[in-house]
Symmetry: C2
Subunit: 85 residues, 2 copies
Amino acid sequence: MAVEVVYRSSRDPERLFMDKAEADRHDKMLELAESLAGVLHKAVPSLSEDQVEELGIFMARNRDTFARAFKNQPDALGELFAEAE
Amino acid sequence: MAVEVVYRSSRDPERLFMDKAEADRHDKMLELAESLAGVLHKAVPSLSEDQVEELGIFMARNRDTFARAFKNQPDALGELFAEAE
């Protein structure tokens, strides 16, 4: 038996990471997802809490692709489901 | 009476512009909005057509803010409703 260090984001306490950098990436992703959920809910009030949460997490997980799409490459979005199929 | 040139995006034929650059910006905005609506609908299938269209247009109209948020400034999103209030 031994004591070991694990890391977690306070936004998602159940998910533990052995690697601090990975916990930090997870925390940053959730931070962006929460901000997105907030503005999207204000923009389209008919969305449910679950829907804005799903939208936020989907976009935050794919933030690099969305960054390119919003900057000047709308075609970048085509990659999102091409990979999954 | 005189003949004059007006411009429009084929994506939104009812909206006419006197200025070609403005018509072009409108077309680019709608192009991005359509791409966004498509991927968001695949990501969150419970959304309605109207909801994904509203989301796409809202984000495409604010594309510079979203570009910064996705790149490395999630706080940029705070500006979106601060201005309106």
